[in-house]
Amino acid sequence: MILEAKDLNYYYQDGEQRRYILKDTSVSFEKGKFYTILGQSGSGKTTLLSLLSALDSPHSGEVLFNQEDIKKIGYEKYRRNNIGIIFQNYNLIPTFTAVENVLIPMSITENELPEDSKTVAYNLLDYIGIVKNKADRPVNKLSGGEQQRVAIARALATNVELILADEPTGNLDEEMEQEIIDIFKKLAHEHGKCVIVVTHSNEIALQSDQAFLLKKGVLASYE
C-alpha cells in the first residue's frame, strides 16, 4: 500500500454549525494501479485530492505515505519528493517554455536524478508527445492538450511513484481525453506508478482499475 487515508474529516464552519465536506473518510491505494474518484461538482472530491497531495490539511484524520504520516514527513517535503500533481487548468508558468516548466520540479526535489536534467526533460516531453521544437516554446503558445501533456511530464519529472490528477481532462475534447487516459494507464501498468484521478466522468471511471464514488462527504466503492 503506497497511500492510505484514515478517518479524514474536513468541514467549513458556518456560525456554530459545521458543514462537512469529508466525514470519516478512509481509503487506500496501491502501486501499479489506476484509480478514479468519481463525484458530482461540490461532492468534495477535489478537497480529498488536496488532502492526499498535502495542498491542504484535514481537521482530523491522517494520510499515510508508505505507512508514514505525511504530516511527519512534512507537507512541503512530501510534495517535493513523493508526488506529482496534475491540475485541471494545467497550472504551468506561462512565461517559461515547456521544457523550463518540466525543469522546475527537478530543481526543487531532493530525489536523485540523472545529471543532465535538460535531456531528461526533453525525453520526458517526447515520451508524452511533445516534440523538441514545441518543448522550446512558451507554454501559453501550446494547445490545451499539449499544455496538459507538459503538466503530466512535469508531474513525472521527479521520478515519483504517486501521481495525483484533478479533473485532468476537464478542459479537453474527447479525443484528447482518451489520449491522456491512455498515458495514465500506461504509467500505472507499465511503469508501476499509482495514478489517482479525480473526475466526474463515468467513461474515465470505467477505464480505471478501481473507482470510488464520493457522495455527501462519504466515500464508497463504485462498481
Binding site: S50, S53, L55, D56, S57, E76, K77, Y78, R79, R80, N81, I85, F87, N91, L92, I93, T95, F96, E100, L103, I104, P105, M106, S107, I108, T109, R154
Partner: protein, 488 residues
Amino acid sequence: MNFIKRGFLGITRKKGKSLILLAVILILGSLISGAISIQQATSNVEKSVKERLGAAATLELDWEEYDKLSEEEMMNVELENIGVDLIKQIGGLSYVKYYDYSVSTMLGSESLEAYRGEMEEDFIHEGPSMDFTLKGINYAPVLDFEEQKGKLVDGRVFTQEEVDNGTSVAVISKKLAEKNNLNVGDTFTFVNVVYTYDEETGEEDIAASRDVVLEVIGLFESQFIKEDAETASDGGMMDWMDMDYQNTVYVPNEIVLNENKYQFEEYMKTDEEYAEMMEGEEEASFEYYTPMFVLNSPEDSEAFEEEVLPLLPDYYTVVSATDQYDSIAGPMESMSKLSKYVLIAAVIATVLITGLVVLLFLRDRKRELGIYLSLGESRGRVVGQILIEVMVVAFIGITLSLFSGNFIASQVSDTMMKADNNTSNEDVYYYSELQINLTTDDVMDSYEVSLNSSYILVFYGIGLLTILISTVIPLVYIVRLNPKKILM
C-alpha cells in the same frame, strides 16, 4: 532552474512590468536621493562652517535680556563683573581645552607709527593718538596664536613667569615692526595720557602722562584676516579689521591693569565729582576681564553653555562662535528644512506607491507562487525568487536615481539659494571678541552637492530597505497561505 535563475528569468521575460517598476523606483528614488543630497550638503556646510567658526566661547552681557528691562529697573540693576575666580571655575570644565582672560586698553605713541595698510593717505598724523590696542594675556602661549588667528614668525611667546610678574615685554605684528624698524630685542615706548575736558570751551588738556616702555620678544603675522582678504567681496571692512589686528600689542595682563589703574587714579585727581562717586569702589572696577574659552570641539558648545549658564551672574550669557552659524546660514537652514520634509514625504510615498505597485505585480503572480508551493518549493525560496526580481530592478533604479537625484538637487538648490539670497538683506559682517568675519556668501560658497561614500551608503540603505519592506509585507501575506487557498 533554481529560484535564483527563475528570479533573473522573471525580470527578462516580463520586460514591461520590470520597466514599469524601474520607472516608479527611478522617479521616487530621485526624490529621495535629491532630498538626501541636500540634507547631506547642508549638514556638511554646518559642520565645515562651524569648524571655521571655531570652538571658542566667551561670556558677554545678555543685551536681549537687559533691553527687556524698564528704564527704572535698569537704573536699579547692579551689574556684576565676571570675576577671575568664576573664569577659573569655568575654565576647569571638561569641555574646555584652554582658556584665557584679558583686559585691554588703548594707548598712543610719539615714536611708534601705527600700521595703516592701504589707507595710509586717509590719516592725518597729529601728536600721540590712541591707535594701539594693548591686549593683556594670562595664557602664556597666547590663545590667539593657538587658534591660528595669528602666527608667531619671529622671537618667542611669553613665559609664565613674565605673565605672572607683569614683565614689560610685548609681542607685536611683523607689519608694525617693519614700519617702525623694530626687531626682536628692541624696545619701544607708548604714552599713557590722561586728558581733562573743559565742558565750557570743549578743549582737552593733558592732565598727566607717563611712558610705557616695552621690549619686543616676538613678532606675529595675521592668519585669519589674510585668508579671507583675498576672497572677500567687501575689501574695506576687511582692511579695517586687518589694520586693527596689526596694531594690537600682546602684553601680560598686569601691564594693562597697571596702566588702567594709573588712568583711573590720575583722572580722579582732576575730577572731584567723579572721585566722590567712585569713593569706596574696589580696584576691581577697572579690572573688566574678557574671558575666552576654547572648547575641545564645536560640538561641545551646547553642553558647555548648558553647564555654564547657571554659574553666571544675572544678565550674562555665553556667546559661542558657532552661534553665528544660525544668523548667517538662513538660506541653508530653509533648504535643509525643506529637504527634510521632502525626504519624509518621499519615503512615505515610496513605501505606499512601491508597495502598491509590488502588490499589483504580486497579484498577477499569486497563482505562480501557489504553483511553486504546490511543487514543494520552500516558502523562503519563493520569497527569495520574488525578492531577487524586485531587488535587482530596484538596485538598478536606485543606482540611476542616485545620479539623477544628485543632479536635480544641485539644480534645485542653486536656484533656491540664488532666489533666497537675492531677497535677503545685505550681507552682515560679524566682528566681536570672537573675531568672526564669515558672511552668508562664505556659507553659500561652501555648499556643494556631491556624491560621497556616506551619502551613497545612506541612499542605498534607505532605498533598498524601503523597497524590501514594501515587497516583503505583501509577499509574506501570500505565502503564509496553503497552496490550495492560493490556487483556488
